[in-house]
C-alpha cells in the first residue's frame, strides 16, 4: 500500500550517548537498530513515499567502530508533534543502558551545522609519564602531521594538521589523557583513530604485542558549530 504524504514531516532531534560495548557496533548497525527502536517506541513516524515506504533517520557525523560518544545526534521524522518528554521516555524504554537519549527537542538548526567534535582519548599504557605526555604534545604541535589516510581514491599521504583545531596531552594517574577537537565537516572529517595512528608511529606507543595491557579508548564529548559555540 502506498501512503500519500501531503504533509511535510516534522523533525524531532535526539541527542544520545552510545558507550561501553556499543562502541563495537558500526554506524550501519546503529541505523538498523534505531529503525526498530523508533517502531517499538510507537512514535507517529513519517514514512517515505513510494513502493517500499520506510521511516527516515538522519545522523550527524557517523561514529566509527571503537569510539564511544556522549553526543550523538539523530533526526527522526514525524507526522505530528508530540511532547518531547514523552518521546524521550518511550525511546529510552526501548534502548539498553549503554545507549540512552539525553535530550529530545524540535531543532532550530540543521545537522549540517555541526562542524567540530571534541574527543577525550585515554591511553592505558605502561609508562604513562609526564615525559611521554610532553613528547606527545610536541608531536601534536608540529607544523605538519603526515599520515596515510583513506581517501576517495584509495590511501594517500595526507597532512591532518589543519583538521585538528586543538590537541593536548596530560598525565592522569596511570594514564595519559588527550583532549582534542577535530574537524567533523563531511568533506574533511577526521577520525580520531588517525591521531592514535600518528602517535603510534611517532612515539612508539601502543604496540600490538600486548593487547591486554596496552590499550586506548576514545570518547566523543562535545559538538560545535563553525564559530565554536556548542551545537544543539
Amino acid at each position: 500500500m502506498v501512503q500519500v504524504n501531503n504533509n511535510t514531516p516534522i523533525v524531532l532531534r535526539v541527542k544520545f550517548y552510545k558507550k561501553g560495548s556499543l562502541q563495537y557496533i558500526s554506524h550501519l548497525d546503529l541505523v538498523r537498530t534505531m529503525m526498530k527502536v523508533i517502531v517499538r517506541a510507537k512514535l507517529p513516524l513519517w514514512y517515505t513515499e513510494g513502493f517500499n515506504p520506510k521511516p527516515k533517520l538522519t545522523f550527524a557525523a557517523p561514529l566509527s567502530i571503537g569510539t564511544e560518544s556522549m553526543c550523538e545526534y539523530m533526526d527522526i521524522r514525524l507526522t505530528e508533534k508530540i511532547p518531547t518528554a514523552i518521546a524521550k521516555e518511550r525511546l529510552n524504554a526501548n534502548m539498553t543502558d549503554e545507549m540512552q537519549a539525553t535530550e529530545v527537542y524540535y531543532p532550530g538548526e540543521k545537522l549540517t551545522a555541526l562542524k567540530w567534535l571534541a574527543y577525550e582519548i585515554t591511553l592505558e599504557i605502561k609508562d604513562a609519564t609526564p615525559e611521554l605526555a610532553e613528547k606527545i604534545n610536541s608531536v601534536l604541535e608540529s607544523e605538519e602531521l603526515q599520515v596515510f589516510k583513506k581517501t576517495k581514491s584509495g590511501e594517500a599521504l595526507v597532512n591532518i594538521k589543519p583538521l585538528i583545531k586543538s590537541a593536548s596531552a596530560r598525565v592522569a594517574g596511570q594514564r595519559i589523557m588527550i583532549s582534542c577537537i577535530l574537524s567533523a565537516d563531511p568533506s574533511a572529517f577526521l577520525n580520531p583513530e588517525y591521531v592514535i595512528k600518528v602517535l603510534k608511529e611517532k612515539c612508539g606507543i601502543l604496540s600490538d604485542d600486548n593487547l591486554l595491557e596496552e590499550r586506548y579508548s576514545i570518547m566523543r564529548t562535545n559538538a560545535y558549530k563553525e564559530n565554536m559555540t556548542l551545537f544543539s
Binding site: I25, T33, K54, L211
Partner: protein, 618 residues
C-alpha cells in the same frame, strides 16, 4: 569495570567485534544469587548464524521462564578471535554474563548440521573442558547435545554426556529440574544424575550407558544397555499441543546484521508430503499445526516487542498449512498499515497461486525459488516429489506475469536409480523456464530479460528416510555428473552452481557413521579443523588424512550401501516412523510409484503412536 573493558584491545583488533559484546535489547540478565542452574546454550557456528536459529530462540525463552534457571548464549568465535583467545589464555565465555562456560552447570550444544561437529568440539577445548565424556570429572559441566543431528549422533556420541532426542522444550527443563533437585538433596554425582535422567526422562540418551559391539565385517552387532532400567531404544520426544507450548514473546535483538533478522513464525511441525530423500519430513512427524489465533497473537506481540518490519512464516512446506488463508488474512489486517511485510520461504510448485503471490512481499520484491529436486518425471516419482512439469510451467507463468524474471531452481544429483538422462533433464527443465519466458507475448514479459539459476546438491542417504540404506555416489561419479550437466547447459541465461562433492562425501560419512569415527573427529579437531561448513576453512586433505590414520574406510559408510537386515548406527533411536514403513516406501521408489500426502490418506508411517494434538493422522 564494564564487561568487555579488559579485552577492549582485543575487540578492536578482530573482525566484527559486535559478535562478542552481548548487551542486546531483550537479552536476559538474572541475579546470580537467585539461580540454581546455569545453562549455557551453545551454538557451534558464528553469532550471525546462531542468532537466526529458531530452536535457540525457543529454548532460550523456555529455560529463562524458569525463575531459578538462567540460560545464556554461547557462539563459536571466528578464527581471528580464537587466535587471540589462545594467545592471551582467555577461555570461552557466555554472551550475557561474560562468565567462562566451564563454570556453568549444563551446556547444551545445538547440532544443526554434521559439519559443525569440529566447531562444537573446538568450543569445548576453548572452554578448558575435556573433549571426551569419559575424561570429564565431577566439577565439569554436563555436556548435552540436541538438534536434528541427534537422529544419528553416533559419530560424536562419546563426546557428549547426554543427548536430547526430539523436541527440547520440555526435556531441557526436566533435565535442569532434576539437576537442581539432586544438587539440593545431596544425591548428585555425574553418574547418579545421568543414570536418573536416562531412566526417568523420556527422550534422554546417555551414550556411555550403551555398549556397542561389532561384527567382523565392521557392521554393528548390537547396542547393549548397561543398566536394566534404561530404555533399549530412545524414543524421540515431541510436544503434543503446539498451541499450548510456550513461544517467545520477545526476541533478543542483535545489534549486528544476522542471517535471518526478522520475526519467524513456526506454523506447524512435520510434513505431510513424504519426499523420500528428506530427513526433516520424516523425523518431525507427526504433523502438528498451530491455530491461526495462536499465530496471529504471537505475531502481534513479537512485532511490538521487536519492531521488525518482516514476518516470515516457516515450516517445511508452508502452503500445506490447512488454515493458510485465515492466517494470512489475520496478519494482513494490521501488517500493511504497520509497514510489515510477510514472507514465505518454502513454496511448493504445485500450490503456488496468484493470490498467495499478492499477499507476500518477498515474492513481490525478491526472486523466486523452487525445488523440483530431479530433472525427469520418472526420477521425481522415485523420490516422491509430486510435482509435474505442468506445475512448473503454470507457476513460472504466474511469476513472470507478476514481474519476476529471476528464478532459482534446486536439484539433487546422485539420487537412487539416477541415469544420465535425469542429469540432462535438469538442464532441460531450466530451458523450459527460459522457453516459458519467450512464449509470453512481448508486452507481458518482465523487463530485463530472464535469468535462471540451477543449484545442484549432492544426494546424501539420510537416516530415517526410505533411502537410508542407499549407496552414496562416489566422488568420481558425482564429479562426472557435474561435468555432464555443465556440458548439457547451452543457454547462457542459465547459471549453474553445485555443491562441492568432497564436502558431501564428508557429510555422508558423518551423517551415516558410527562410534568408530569419534577418534578421527577428535584428531581432526586437534589438527585444526573448525568451521567445516565454511569454504575458506574446509580442509578435505586433512580429513582424508585423519580418517586414514584412524583406520576408517569411508566407502564403508558411503558407496557401500547398508543391508536391509543390518543393525544401523541409528537403530538406537526411535524416531516414530517404522522400518517397515521406510522399507515399503523404498520398494515403491524402485517401482517409481508415488505415495499420496497425509492430507489424502494415512500411509501408516508409525509417527501417530507419538500422539499430539491438531495432527493430520487419524
Amino acid at each position: 569495570m564494564q564487561k568487555n573493558d579488559n579485552i577492549s584491545g582485543i575487540l578492536k583488533s578482530v573482525s566484527k567485534p559486535g559478535r562478542y559484546i552481548g548487551g542486546e535489547y531483550n537479552s536476559i540478565i538474572k541475579n546470580k544469587a537467585d539461580i540454581k542452574c546455569r545453562f549455557a546454550f551453545a551454538f557451534p557456528d558464528t553469532y550471525e548464524i546462531g542468532m537466526s536459529n529458531l530452536g535457540v530462540r525457543i529454548l532460550y525463552d523456555v529455560l529463562n521462564k524458569e525463575s531459578d534457571i538462567w540460560c545464556e548464549r554461547v557462539y563459536a568465535p571466528w578464527p581471528d578471535m580464537i587466535e587471540k583467545m589462545e594467545q592471551y589464555a582467555i577461555p570461552l565465555s557466555s554472551v550475557e554474563s561474560g562468565d567462562p562456560v566451564r563454570d556453568f552447570d549444563l551446556i547444551g550444544f545445538s547440532l544443526q548440521y554434521e559439519l559443525c561437529y569440529t566447531t562444537a568440539l573446538r568450543m569445548l577445548k576453548l572452554s578448558g573442558i575435556p573433549m571426551w565424556s569419559k575424561d570429564r570429572c565431577e566439577s565439569d559441566p554436563i555436556i548435552i547435545a540436541g538438534g536434528p543431528c541427534v537422529y544419528n549422533a553416533e559419530p560424536v556420541a562419546e563426546f557428549f554426556d547426554l543427548i536430547n532426542v526430539g523436541e527440547g522444550e520440555e526435556v531441557l527443563v526436566e533435565i535442569s529440574r532434576l539437576y537442581i533437585e539432586m544438587k539440593e538433596d545431596g544425591s548428585y554425582s555425574r553418574e547418579a544424575f545421568l543414570h536418573k535422567a536416562a531412566s526417568t526422562i523420556e527422550g534422554v540418551y546417555v551414550p556411555a550407558f550403551y555398549d556397542v559391539s561389532y561384527n567382523d565385517d565392521g557392521t554393528i552387532k548390537e547396542y547393549r544397555p548397561i543398566f536394566d532400567d534404561i530404555p533399549t531404544k530412545i524414543k524421540k520426544r515431541i510436544i503434543s499441543d503446539l498451541d499450548k507450548v510456550s513461544y517467545p514473546e520477545k526476541l533478543v535483538m542483535p545489534y549486528i546484521e544476522t542471517v535471518h533478522d526478522r520475526i519467524v513464525l513456526e506454523v506447524y511441525r512435520g510434513c505431510i508430503r513424504g519426499c523420500r530423500f528428506c530427513q526433516a519430513g520424516m523425523v518431525y512427524r507427526p504433523i502438528r499445526e498451530k491455530s491461526p489465533e495462536t499465530l496471529c497473537k504471537a505475531a502481534k506481540c513479537l512485532y511490538e516487542n521487536t519492531g521488525y518490519d518482516e514476518i516470515s512464516l516457516i515450516s517445511l512446506s508452508i502452503s500445506d498449512y490447512s488454515k493458510l488463508r485465515e492466517l494470512t488474512d489475520g496478519l494482513l489486517e494490521w501488517t500493511d498499515d504497520a509497514h510489515v511485510s510477510l514472507s514465505l520461504p518454502s513454496l511448493r510448485l504445485d500450490s503456488f497461486s496468484e493470490e498467495l503471490m499478492e499477499k507476500v512481499t518477498s515474492v513481490r520484491t525478491g526472486g523466486l525459488t523452487f525445488a523440483p529436486e530431479a530433472g525427469t518425471q520418472r526420477l521425481r516419482d522415485v523420490i516422491n516429489k509430486n510435482v509435474t512439469e505442468d506445475d512448473l510451467k503454470r507457476t513460472i507463468g504466474i511469476a513472470f506475469r507478476g514481474g519476476k524474471n529471476n528464478v532459482k531452481l534446486y536439484f539433487m544429483s546422485g539420487l537412487p536409480t539416477e541415469r544420465d538422462e535425469d542429469i540432462v533433464g535438469i538442464a532441460d527443465t531450466a530451458k523450459t523456464v527460459v522457453d516459458c519466458y519467450f512464449a509470453l507475448p512481448k508486452t507481458e514479459r518482465p523487463k530485463g530479460g530472464v535469468s535462471v539459476t540451477i543449484s545442484v546438491a549432492c544426494f546424501i542417504p539420510k537416516p530415517f528416510t526410505p533411502f537410508q540404506w542407499e549407496k552414496q555416489d562416489s566422488l568420481e561419479e558425482l564429479e562426472r555428473k557435474q561435468k555432464l550437466l555443465k556440458e548439457s547447459i547451452t543457454d547462457r541465461r542459465i547459471r549453474y552452481t553445485y555443491h562441492d562433492a568432497k564436502v558431501s562425501r564428508l557429510e555422508g560419512v558423518l551423517a551415516r557413521g558410527d562410534r568408530k569415527l569419534a577418534k578421527a573427529i577428535a584428531l581432526a579437531v586437534d589438527e585444526g579443523s573448525i568451521f567445516d561448513a565454511w569454504d575458506e576453512y574446509f580442509d578435505y586433505e586433512r580429513w582424508v588424512s585423519v580418517l586414514e590414520r584412524s583406520g576408517i574406510d569411508t566407502d564403508f559408510y558411503t558407496t557401500r550401501g547398508y543391508a536391509e537386515d543390518e543393525t544401523l548406527p541409528w537403530d538406537i533411536i526411535d524416531a516414530g516412523v517404522t522400518k517397515a514403513y521406510l522399507l515399503r516406501e523404498r520398494k515403491k521408489a524402485y517401482a517409481a510409484e508415488t505415495t499420496p500426502s497425509c492430507a489424502e490418506h494415512c500411509n501408516g508411517c508409525g509417527a501417530n503412536k507419538l500422539g499430539g494434538k491438531n495432527v493430520w493422522c487419524k
